[in-house]
Symmetry: C2
Subunit: 224 residues, 2 copies
DNA sequence: CAAATAGTGTCTTTGAGACACTATCGT
DNA sequence: ACGATAGTGTCTCAAAGACACTATTTG
């Protein structure tokens, strides 16, 4: 059977086509812990359980666009770091109908999060209530793995920190993602090329103020 | 609007739901080059152009299952390395109808490839004909990036080499994926823990025979 | 023994890791 | 001066990189 023949058969068949949705794992740092945005489900299935914010993909909408919309609608967030994670499609993952879910993970500094709608809140990523709706526990686990894997060799940690930040703050984010303490001096050497000074300092603490930095605009390394 | 309301509206709407397909980028090494399996399209759209092997996802089929099926049908391959790559869903990427495509990349040693069906053949990955059908050029480019990124810190190169192989062979695969020559001694040190000797040697060459190895069954490193 | 490729020993360079030290704030 | 946190200098160690050497086959 050629693809065209299959398509014709598929088009004409009585099979319900799968629906396509997006689900987003929104991470942020709050109360010195990595947290995930979850909403409590009102309706069947999994009524009463927590689930990831999601949305069905509109007919004229890109996948990224649908993920952005989901976060805008459920958390009032715009222009945040968003990256595709994995696509989940096991038959039966949604008991109502076949749903293919394209999952995303998103990173946002706490100061960008406004008041959340009723039923939506942040939960600590390493002590989530159990069970969660659908296969969302697995999606979050994969998001955590991806995050942990990428933090050491990319810039993603900057997306979890305000535009202007101190190095102790940034180091703490790395430590929370990696789950282990880091040596101050080594950490600073490693990120030295990716930051620039603002000239400002913190104040008010009962200790030495710390320098305030921002992310360096251009990658320090020119192409080889 | 709650999710349930949206779902009800979505269900009842006249919108055609997207179709969901899989496309696979099958890589192999042949004639001392990395090659990709492509099939020439017979029908509209993009008739006459080359495209990736793909399939629509059946109603009771997993995504991985559909990708395996596509490769079985188009290349007679079974039980090969297969990993999800990215999901493409821009409206308009297929001019006929909305198609969400979950892309995979697959790796197979040349000796596992049998005779290919009419219109299907291998093409050198770094000198592909242009243009390709749909957004398949982008899918292949992403597959190449993923492959290059992963070769240095994972075992994937073993999937491009027969079960029993020599180190010059394995090194050549690394060099083709990375696009640069490697130092013999350093390469051997790096993979020393991941291989084991078979006790066999090559023969017939006009030079010193090389030892034949296989992949080490268990990861040498115990959990910390 | 010459050509050709397989395989090894070892010096250098780089970066991660560990730790001790100094600096500057508030009280 | 002290408690607390910010920030730096430097030794160690392991891995990556570079290169030169030895080994074993065929003709």
């Amino acid at each position: 059977m050629t693809e065209e023949e299959f398509l014709a058969a598929y088009d004409a068949s009585a099979y319900p086509r799968p629906s396509v949705a997006v689900d987003a794992v929104l991470f942020t740092i709050r109360d010195d812990a990595l947290q995930v945005l979850l909403t409590r489900r009102q309706a069947h299935p999994f009524a009463g359980l927590l689930s990831l914010p999601g949305a069905f993909v509109g007919p004229e909408e890109t996948l990224d666009g649908a993920a952005q919309r989901a976060l805008r609608e459920k958390a009032g967030l715009q222009d945040i770091f968003l990256e595709q994670l994995y696509t989940w499609g096991d038959p039966g993952r949604d008991p109502r109908l076949r749903v293919i879910s394209v999952s995303y993970y998103a990173l946002v500094p706490e100061d960008r999060i406004g008041p959340l709608p009723e039923g939506t809140a942040l939960y600590p990523a390493h002590a989530l209530p159990t069970p969660l709706a659908f296969d969302h526990a697995g999606i979050i686990r994969l998001g955590l793995e991806r995050l942990r894997g990428k933090v050491s060799y990319t810039d993603i940690a900057f997306s979890l920190v305000p535009e202007e930040f101190t190095l102790p703050q940034l180091q703490r984010v790395h430590e929370l993602l990696l789950g282990q303490p880091l040596y101050k001096a080594n950490f600073r050497k490693k990120i030295a090329g990716r930051i620039e000074e603002t000239g400002k300092f913190t104040s008010g603490g009962k200790h030495r103020p710390s320098r305030i930095y921002r992310k360096r605009a251009l990658p320090a390394e020119p192409l080889l």
